[in-house]
């Protein structure tokens, strides 16, 4: 791999995405579209976690 990636910053921003989506869901009350779109966002955040955050963790970054 030639290019270096700023894994640390990406991990920080992925954590923020999760926090934001979870807190949005929390305040949504009985608002189906917000809840269900947050679920979709969180599923995609998880894809970022398995692709970036987990990799960063084992690489010590």
């Amino acid at each position: 791999m030639n290019q270096e990636y700023d894994m640390k910053s990406m991990v920080t921003k992925i954590k923020a995405l999760r926090r934001n989506a979870e807190s949005l869901k929390e305040i949504a009350g009985d608002f189906p579209t917000v809840i269900k779109n947050c679920d979709r966002i969180l599923a995609n955040v998880h894809m970022l976690e398995i692709n970036v955050s987990d990799a960063a963790e084992v690489m010590g970054k």
């Binding site: 679920d39 979709r40 599923a43 998880h46 987990d54 990799a55």
Partner: protein
């Protein structure tokens, strides 16, 4: 957006010792999840006296009991909890968003539950494959498959969208209509079973359409049957379409764990998302070295609704000694899926793999794509009949072709066959998984 070689340049080139660390971390996570959320897995592991704290190092993974399809079936179905999934389910039923089932080729189907996150993960795994096969935004991808209860090419559809390709669902159209639609829309890629890919080319030619010349397909992903990793079959497909053909392997219970990249050097295992172990069929010993065939045991990382942990698939595989020129550190399998442990059968006292016959048939240019192998018993003696289609222009050469086939089959399989020639296009064709091997001996 970068058009780089890798979908994930970090994971796909990760040093192997780091990949091992990642696999241990992910194995612990899915094991702990299943232990805590599925009665089926909790019972299985409690009976074996193993719990999450016991998984301290990579070698501890082999202490975890394996699971088989029959075990899944035994806890699923009517009268069982969490209908139809049974106690293997790890989430409440209202978290399940997707149902699929196995084809039931080897018995009662397995019902597979997925949450949306699981479904995303299956899509993600397929993105690794398609990106490695050169799919990019701008590709116009045609899917000639029946969108239904089987996993088939669903993930290919979603992964195509995610990558940014334009996806054309060719669902309920018949083969002729699909060909005309591909021509009209100038589709550049498609995914189907090897049998259907070969059959479509035959149909196209019957319509006066020569696929390499009159269509625009330049990439094909095949799955569902081993043909994509059988060199003679892949060559036939590539010649018939004027396209590169790439194998992709997976299953309903596991997901999409392996694929050929554009170098076609073997099947890459997506080791960031799956753990593939190879086990000696007789001793159960784990095989790490290349070139020794064994049974595949697979774990899917992070599939939460219905985990797949140390699943004894009974597919036969072997590691390849090569490192692929693509630069990925994911290990390669040699020759893809080389058969099923329960397909390898003794005939006249000799172990016979149906795939060995396919390689001979598809390497014989005077024959059509289809074939069937039927094993019967005449008195106390096993009898094998190979049914093949002879191309019309070679009917006059039947005797010579038969002699050549007999020699090749004896060399490859150490067995003698009754060879039956059938008219071209007369043997059954299938759009889904083809079963070409019939063992009709009384058991």
């Amino acid at each position: 957006m970068s058009n780089g070689v890798y979908w994930n340049p970090v994971l796909e080139t990760m040093p192997r010792e780091k990949l091992r660390q990642l696999q241990l971390k992910k194995f612990r996570e899915i094991f702990t999840w299943a232990y805590g959320h599925s009665k089926f897995y909790h019972q299985l592991y409690s009976d074996a006296g193993i719990e999450p704290g016991d998984l301290k190092k990579f070698e501890d993974i082999k202490k975890v009991p394996k699971m088989e399809k029959a075990m899944m079936r035994s806890v699923q179905g009517p009268g069982k909890p969490n209908y139809p999934y049974g106690d293997i389910l790890c989430v409440p039923l209202d978290k399940v968003t997707d149902y699929r089932q196995t084809s039931g080729t080897t018995g009662q189907p397995v019902y597979q539950a997925d949450t949306w996150q699981d479904w995303e993960q299956g899509t993600e795994a397929y993105c690794y494959a398609m990106w490695a096969q050169g799919y990019r935004p701008g590709d116009r991808v045609f899917l000639p498959f029946g969108y239904n209860i089987f996993i088939a090419f669903w993930a290919y559809h979603y992964a195509g969208e995610k990558i940014g390709c334009e996806v054309i669902p060719g669902g309920v159209l018949n083969t002729e209509a699909r060909i005309l639609k591909m021509q009209e829309l100038r589709a550049t890629a498609m995914g189907a079973t090897p049998t259907y890919i070969l059959g479509m080319a035959e149909t196209a030619r019957g319509m006066g359409i020569d696929p390499p010349k009159d269509l625009f397909i330049r990439k094909i992903t095949v799955a569902g049957e081993p043909g994509g990793s059988v060199p003679a079959t892949r060559q036939r497909m590539e010649d018939a379409w004027g396209a590169k053909v790439y194998d992709q392997v997976g299953s309903t219970e596991i997901g999409h764990w392996g694929w050929q990249c554009t170098h076609q050097a073997g099947l890459h295992v997506n080791e960031a998302m799956y753990l593939i172990e190879i086990e000696d069929v007789n001793t159960g010993e784990l095989i790490e070295e290349p070139g020794r065939r064994g049974k595949m045991v697979v774990t899917t990382f992070g599939r939460m609704a219905q985990p797949c942990i140390r699943f004894d698939v009974k597919d036969l595989i072997q590691w390849n000694a090569r490192q692929c020129d693509c630069g990925r550190t994911f290990r390669l399998l040699d020759g893809g899926i080389q058969g099923r442990a329960d397909d390898i059968t003794k005939v006249k006292g000799v172990l016979l793999s149906p795939l060995a016959i396919e390689e001979v048939v598809r390497n014989t240019p005077q024959l059509g794509h289809e074939y069937q192998v039927v094993v019967t018993k005449k008195g106390d003696i096993d009898d094998i009949t190979l049914k093949v289609e002879i191309l019309p222009e070679y009917r006059k050469d039947e005797a010579a072709i038969k002699a050549k086939l007999t020699d090749q089959l004896r060399l490859t399989t150490n067995l003698g066959y009754n060879i039956e020639f059938h008219p071209y296009e007369s043997l059954p064709r299938s759009q889904t998984k083809s079963r070409r091997f019939q063992d009709l001996r009384p058991h």
